[in-house]
Symmetry: C2
Subunit: 276 residues, 2 copies
């Protein structure tokens, strides 16, 4: 584990670290905020998965989450969104390849072997984190934005018992029925659509739901609403009788201004579950 | 206007009044809570429409709304749910006739002429209230439970500009597709289903939505979930990009214990809109 930066922030430390990852076969960088309480012992942890084109850095510097996490004594993890490097496959489009890992394990060329973001985020990075930092593995929550909201929801529903709560800002809610999803799943997972269902939050909500509270915020002026398909997830949550809230925030768009506006409510939402 | 009772409550007055109503052709009773601020001048008003089998009294004594309305300086109106009296048609079933007006104007026998709850709640009672009490006609909001949630949502969407906000507890969300709705609409409105659409919150949400915030709470253990159809409304709200929140509250049922638990949040939700 290599320390790239550590800055005092809100009484704690905002760090940036990198490590050689076996799952993705490249060096991976992540951000980690530790609140002051981490000096005394393990603290609960909130994962934040970012969207298309983002690195570990965007949410870390623009989402405004540290102030609320510090107030609640919660750590924040900001993983990268894909493998990186000159020998890692890429695509000219912003929504495929580097910066667009979609939190899946690729099954076909040219994305094998590096594009294994599912395994990286659900297995390798947690192992590295809980070994190296004072984080409480029994108290985890997860959130994310756009592609990262998709990642947060699908991961939370697929690993029952790991996360106490899940939230999302403008998630890609029904990727098997959207060009934000169908294009990438066809590329990474292949043409067999039956393999896609495990990575669709709406389909997972219909099938099993989440054993804990769910909070979804969506801006009504989001420029990508037709790609996000929030109505499919809202219907599935209600039909599942899923504990939680789906909120349409009038006038907000897809940006970090939207995220930062509602970040306090998301952190306190997770805090209630983490300290329950 | 006849005063049936007035009790000091939370620094204001909880009154019960009756008046001879022309729309329903019978005496109608309602509850009105006036906060202390009403002694100084007109105050904003929150309507609360009740559900099947209720009179003006149920929510008035069991919903716990007065404490929060007093804190916000807001009046509360609790109308009855149907015409009443020995000469008013009725049915042996709890969900038709007296106590089950469904907030529509009946078009056929034996429900004509008394069953005109739409006109009573949207026209006659407001006229009587704004004439007799210090209420601010320009600052109105509306809420309700079950059949009353249906009434609140359909009235709010059908009279644009009158209400600044609307909320509902476990509303009958899609009555044209439920036996809580089809039975009553067939009886009151007649077999032409095209006349029913104007009284279906999901269909109105799909068609026009509401120009203001909407808050819907639904209990996940509600014994009437299959009749309420919340998933249809949740989908329609998200598809409409309707400002607001749909919340599934884990373990809550259809009772006033559910209502009173979340009443504070509904009153403060409306207060924000009323004082905006």
């Amino acid at each position: 584990m290599k320390t790239l930066a550590e800055n005092r922030a809100f009484g704690g430390v905002q760090g940036v670290y990198s490590h050689a990852a076996r799952t993705t076969g490249c060096d991976m960088t992540f951000g980690l905020f530790l609140p002051a309480e981490a000096e005394e012992g393990p603290v609960p942890v909130l994962w934040f998965l970012s969207g298309l084109t983002c690195t570990h850095e965007n949410a870390m510097v623009k989402a405004g989450a540290q102030q609320w996490a510090a107030a609640e004594g919660i750590a924040l993890v900001f993983p990268d969104t894909s493998p990186r490097g000159a020998d890692v496959a890429d695509d000219a489009a912003y929504d495929l390849g580097q910066g667009a890992g979609f939190y899946v394990n690729a099954a076909q060329a040219p994305w094998v072997p590096h594009f294994r973001m599912w395994d990286y985020v659900t297995t390798e990075l947690p192992e590295a984190l809980f070994k190296a930092f004072p984080l409480d593995e029994g108290r985890q929550a997860i959130s994310g934005h756009s592609m990262g909201g998709h990642g947060a929801l699908t991961i939370a529903m697929s690993i029952p018992g790991r996360f106490r709560s899940v939230s999302a800002f403008a998630p890609i809610a029904h990727p098997t029925a959207s060009e934000w999803g169908r294009k990438q799943f066809a590329a990474y997972l292949g043409p067999d659509e039956s393999a896609w269902a495990a990575h669709d939050a709406t389909l997972l909500m219909r099938k099993r739901g989440f054993d804990g509270p769910v909070l979804v915020d969506q801006g009504s002026s989001d420029q990508f609403l037709d790609l996000l398909r929030p109505e499919a997830l809202a219907e599935a949550m209600a039909a599942r009788r899923q504990e939680g809230a789906f909120r349409m925030q009038r006038g907000y768009d897809h940006s970090y201004f939207f995220i930062s506006t509602f970040m306090e409510e998301h952190v306190t939402f997770h805090s209630r579950a983490l300290y329950d």
